[in-house]
């Protein structure tokens, strides 16, 4: 049966067809849908892990029993998981073990842009790179076979334009694995990575790479396509799709396996075509390796950009002097941008309004709340990695000493706290730092599409589960000053934060009553259904606009207030967008934002 599937759905389907039984992941764009899809197949045990390192550990443990297992993450997730990953390359696996890592060229939704192919070379493990959904499914299945055949973890590389693109996939049935599962104590030398054993496995890795190179020459996903013998393009994944689209008559060596490289096939290609061009996204990975084999490359990163993503026109412009960009009809930079924003009523907006009013330097983290860095709020001042805020705030306090008291705090989401925020809180207490860490508990992993986590009380499959008690947890870490705030109560929130920032001791503030506005289970009910502007009283001071709420807009009609004050304009609140959080009413100095009546 044929079906249109998204790349991520196709990876899930491929894993299911391949007989995977355990899969773990931490969400991250553009990879999150894989596990969500996979959780719909009842034969597979799926779970959200608190972070990518744990996901890899969970899946590899399952693989050690002989089960087929998978871990999924975005590109930066593999940085977090790199510790187990690098050493699992030594131990090998038993059941097929695949790590899906999805890159984000052009940084649509990430904290950096990195080329995950480097991890394959670094760890000495094979990597497959599909170019569309059909290949996503096919390559996922092959990845499990390769993993078992060569006793190695296998990387499967996604990226935004593959993971989030849909195309036709031929569906097949699931093949259950035959062999019995089990653990054997005699395998210990293979799995205990102490120096004596490591040295043995070190040799195995080199031998395995040689075998994989030979396999790459026969791998059906490495496809040679000889058309015009003048120009041959070596490429992979989405880059192949773009190039083939604009230069259908060139010859191609499309690599489905980007590490290790098929040396014989490459030699053959160089014999068959006159000039070889390498078209690849991000780093000159293939190019460097092919040059190192002693070949002359006609064009590569001298013309193909090594930043951002490729597209048909970028490839055409780079390779053809004849390319002419179409004439501009409207200058795009003249159009107002439409950046993402926090939802109307979001508890993060309220909290960041307080932080801004306090003039704090906010060590930020990654989540919806990172949007507070944008105007008009501009109340978040760093964002490096998941959980990074706490350690940074603590370190900055160490450097600044008493000078920094009352001026710094760390802000991180609930999912981010569980991902990487626990250890630095413990460190702050242990090493006598004074950082105040604010956990924004919106009861979900908001930014990536509302996934459950260990603090929400539900599993990926929707079953009730243990719910982390943040207060007890941080107290157990040694934090003595633990406070809770309702971010919608601005005055009390500001007082609490101020007090804690000024105290020369580690503290944690946890928000309450602030579930994500998109939360399906936990709906935030406000006292009034919406707010309206008393246009007779509004002086047009724009303080409410500084909240950046999408429901509030400026109306440039000048006039006079009822007490005779001239004003340049007023504001209006979109009743259908306003959920009635009342934040704007609290910041209004002229009591001109009033509760609306139900049904009015």
């Amino acid at each position: 049966m044929k079906k249109v599937l998204q790349g991520n759905e196709a990876i899930a389907r491929g894993a299911w067809e391949a007989g995977v039984t355990v899969a773990a992941a931490y969400p991250g764009t553009p990879s999150s849908e894989i596990l969500q899809e996979l959780s719909k197949y009842k034969e597979v045990i799926t779970q959200w892990a608190p972070n990518e390192k744990v996901a890899v550990e969970v899946a590899s443990g399952a693989a050690f029993t002989g089960a087929r297992a998978m871990a999924c993450m975005k590109h930066v997730g593999l940085n977090v998981a790199s510790d187990p990953f690098m050493t699992l390359a030594y131990t090998g696996i038993k059941g097929g073990f695949v790590i899906v890592v999805a890159d984000d060229p052009n940084v649509h939704s990430s904290q950096n842009e990195q080329d995950s192919r480097n991890w394959a070379r670094f760890a000495k493990v094979p990597m497959l790179e599909p170019g569309d959904a059909a290949e996503c499914k096919e390559f996922t299945k092959v990845a499990f076979d390769i993993s078992e055949q060569f006793d190695t973890p296998v990387l499967l590389k996604g990226e935004t334009r593959v993971s989030h693109s849909d195309s036709i996939v031929e569906l097949e049935e699931r093949k259950e694995l035959k062999g019995p599962l089990g653990l054997d104590r005699k395998d210990a030398p293979k799995y205990v990575m102490v120096p004596g054993n490591v040295r043995v496995r070190r040799k195995v890795i080199e031998e395995r790479m040689r075998n994989l190179e030979a396999y790459a020459d026969t791998f059906s996903g490495n496809v040679m396509e000889i058309n015009d013998p003048d120009v041959g393009v070596i490429t992979a994944g989405a880059a192949y799709m773009y190039t083939k689209d604009v230069f259908p008559n060139y010859s191609y060596l499309k690599l489905g396996m980007v590490w290790p490289l098929p040396k014989t096939l490459i030699a053959d290609f160089f014999k068959k075509v006159k000039k070889v061009i390498v078209v690849e996204e991000l780093d000159p990975f293939l190019e460097t390796e092919i040059r190192a084999l002693g070949y002359k490359i006609f064009h590569g990163k001298d013309v193909i950009p090594n930043m951002y993503e490729l597209s048909p026109e970028i490839v055409e412009k780079a390779l053809s002097k004849k390319y002419r960009a179409p004439a501009l009809r409207v200058a795009p930079e003249d159009l107002p941008k439409r950046p993402p924003n926090m939802c109307p009523g979001c508890s993060h907006r309220a909290l960041f309004h307080s932080l801004k009013s306090l003039g704090a330097f906010v060590f930020g983290d990654i989540g919806c709340y990172t949007l507070a860095a944008a105007p008009p709020l501009q109340a978040l001042h760093t964002c490096v990695c998941m959980g990074g805020s706490v350690g940074q705030a603590y370190g900055a306090g160490k450097a600044l000493g008493k000078e920094g008291l009352g001026k710094i705090c760390a802000v991180l989401g609930d999912s981010t706290f569980l991902h990487g925020g626990i250890a630095p809180v413990m460190d702050t207490v242990y090493n006598k730092g004074y950082a105040t860490s604010i956990i924004l508990d919106n009861r979900t992993t908001g930014m990536t599409g509302l996934q459950e986590h260990a603090g929400t009380g539900y599993t990926l499959g929707g079953e009730p589960a243990n719910m982390v008690d943040y207060e007890k947890l941080v107290k157990a870490l040694g934090v003595k000053r633990v406070r809770k705030v309702d971010p919608y109560n601005v005055k009390a929130t500001m007082e609490t934060i101020k007090e804690e920032m000024e105290t020369d001791e580690a503290s944690v503030i946890i928000t309450k009553n602030g579930p994500c506005m998109l939360h399906r289970r936990e709906k935030r009910k406000f006292r009034y259904p919406y707010y309206t502007i008393d246009t007779e009283a509004c002086r047009g001071c724009k303080v409410c606009l500084d909240l950046g709420c999408p429901a509030i807009s400026w109306v440039g009609l000048s006039g006079t207030t009822k007490d005779g004050k001239k004003r340049k304009g007023t504001v209006s609140i979109n009743k259908t967008q306003c959920p009635g959080c009342g934040l704007c009413a609290q910041v209004c100095k002229f009591t001109s934002i009033l509760p609306g009546k139900a049904g009015a």
Partner: protein
Amino acid sequence: MDDKVTNILLSGVGGQGAILASNILAHVFVEAGYDVKKSEVHGMAQRGGDVTTHFRYGKKVYSPLIKYGEVDFLLAFELLEALRYINHCKTSARIVINDQKILPPAVNLGQATYPGDIPETFRKFFKENVYVVKGQEIALSLGNAQAANVVLVGAFSNFFPEIKDAMWVSALKDLLPKKLHELNIKAFGEGKKGL
């Protein structure tokens, strides 16, 4: 079937249902025997940002992205989000725009102005190939503003006479929960009349 690939760009604001619309297109053109590819950016864009979907169909489609300047059809769910892609269209492109304004933050804040008469700007370049559909109004008259996306799809379906209404309706039924079938089939029909 010739080798031509047709390029449809869908643009709008997060939450307007552009994704459902593109799923309907995928369903229909696969039924009709074409190869299809479609690409969109998820993630940050969901938070009220702009959303675009590249949709391509033909005998064999390689790139999931439409080459800049090669859009055959622009299906826009919001006026400014139509204008943002005016340069992406071929001179011969057909333009279908939902007559709805959603103010972006800078306009809300009074720091930028929403561009004036957008349909007129399109007509300057695309003449009679510009179609403005009152998607919001029609959907509201059917009792649910959310169905504006399907009204637009209905209007858009007029460009593909070879595809029977039954195929569009079967796509709607496959992609939507049962309780929304009646509303959306109506919305499709009204949209179809509305061009």
